[in-house]
Amino acid sequence: MSTSSSIAPPSEMKSNFVLEMLEWFGELGIFVWQVLRAGITPPFQISEFVRQLDEIGSKSLPLVALAGSAIGVVLALEARYSLVRFGAKALLPSAIVFSVITEMSPIITGLVVSGRAGAGIGAELAAMKVSEQIDAIEASAVDPKKLLAATRIAACIVVLPLLTLAASFFGVLMGWVAATLIEPISLTRFISEGFKGAGFKDFLPPTFKTCVYGLIIGTVACFQGMRAKGGAEGVGSAATTSVVLSSLFVILADVILVKVILLLFP
């Protein structure tokens, strides 16, 4: 049991925290450099990359579709209420389409994948680390950063925009279903009004910004997994920190990327 004398003073705790944080970022930087170098050097681990596309992409699709559908329905109900109050009910399709595609789908997809795939990658690699499987790969003259990390990070980068498109599709579709249940409107009219005046520059940058989310989720989860220590506790901790940190960085990246996109595509 700790006593009051064993508790470090606040200033020392603060400096320890700062040091640990700097150390974490330093190690992350080295890890990213090593993975990047390993990832671009042949031979490429194509079969593992394809397996990860399925593991992270296909298996996240139902959850992402469900989340996208929920956003569409909620937006249709909430936006309708507000728009009716201001006499702008005709803008409902545009409000749903723009909200879903430009912001809601990308961030929700990022957070859903961060929760599902981030935890999965973090826990899997941590379990491999503590049971010496990663050491066994290295002892077999195979670079674990190339085989395990580069493939997972690349798969996350490729899969995120595709999942975002799926979330957007289901969001718009279910937004129309919800809207039409309250006040019938044909799908053709809903789509044509929703996309009126919109161009590719409105939709492509928000969708492809999720590549950055994929990079963040894959990198943080692989990093946390491959540096795990201890037994079951270490695995659990790696999974939890993978989700917490990748979600946090996805949200921070979203704030920055929204501003960047608005500057680049006014």
């Binding site: 066994a136 290295e138 002892a139 077999s140 195979v142």
Partner: protein
């Protein structure tokens, strides 16, 4: 990295038969304030098996990890097939590792792969000249060699600890290594399984004439499979020699270890 059988055999013949395959020179390693290895030196030639014994936490497994290049010594050098594992380039370390087989303490089988896929792992990554059928045949041959025929499609979690060790051994032998490193091959096994593993290691050693290091607590196992035994205490080698040499020793620690004489 792909190495053809011809290139591999050339590399093996390049490592001169009469020179030690493993040379450990004055290796020291500490973790924080705890020194686990303190000026350890020895060498192992092809056809020899050195058993490294000692109390838990005396750095025996760390020694194996330094030999494979998974950890670096604080002082001294591990010269494996002529390459200094803490200074060689990544490419050279990979070449050396391809000539090593390592059985981890808990086998470290990849739990998402079947036994066959585990054994095939080094072949898939380093013997791309083999067709799928040839690879399958090689795996079957290795599994038969370690007595695991008929278990190729099982997952590691579906087989016993002894079978996992055998599968790990088959994986370690997949690339016909010059050096075999075994970390506690009989730990956690019943006496009969331990005896079977010992016989298997002895048989493999007679057939393949590798330079082997076995880290163990099991004196019976060491006596059975080793040509030399090194006994470690507090990070140093207390005595190195045959089992008979150990029996003749007057060292109190040796006597305690051999006869549980306290």
């Amino acid at each position: 990295m792909q190495v053809s059988q011809e290139e591999n055999s050339t590399m093996q013949s390049d490592s001169k038969q009469d020179e030690p395959a493993i040379v450990i020179q004055d290796v020291s390693k500490s973790f924080g304030s705890q020194r686990v290895l303190d000026g350890v030196s020895f060498d192992v030639r092809r056809g020899e098996t050195l058993a490294v014994l000692g109390r838990s936490g005396t750095g025996k497994s760390v020694l194996l990890r330094i030999i494979v290049g998974l950890q670096s010594p604080d002082r001294g050098a591990a010269l494996i097939l002529g390459a200094n594992m803490s200074e060689a380039s990544a490419a050279d370390i990979s070449k050396v590792r391809m000539q090593m087989g390592f059985l981890f303490q808990h086998a470290a089988l990849y739990d998402s792969l079947t036994v066959e896929e585990n054994v095939a792992f080094p072949l898939v990554h380093h013997r791309k000249d083999l067709s799928q059928a040839e690879r399958h045949d090689r795996v079957e041959q290795l599994l038969e060699e370690v007595g695991l025929s008929g278990h190729s499609n099982k997952m590691p979690s579906d087989i016993s600890g002894g079978m996992q060790k055998r599968a790990g051994l088959a994986r370690a032998l997949a690339l016909d290594p010059v050096i075999l490193l075994l970390d506690e091959p009989t730990a956690g096994l019943d006496p009969i399984s331990s005896g079977e593993i010992d016989e298997l290691v002895l048989k493999l050693q007679e057939e393949h004439k590798m330079a082997s290091i076995v880290v163990t607590h099991d004196m019976i196992s060491a006596k059975t499979i080793a040509t030399r035994i090194a006994l470690m205490d507090q990070g140093k080698i207390v005595i190195e020699g045959s089992f008979e040499d150990l029996q003749k020793s007057d060292e109190r620690f040796v006597s305690q270890f051999l006869h549980r004489d306290f």
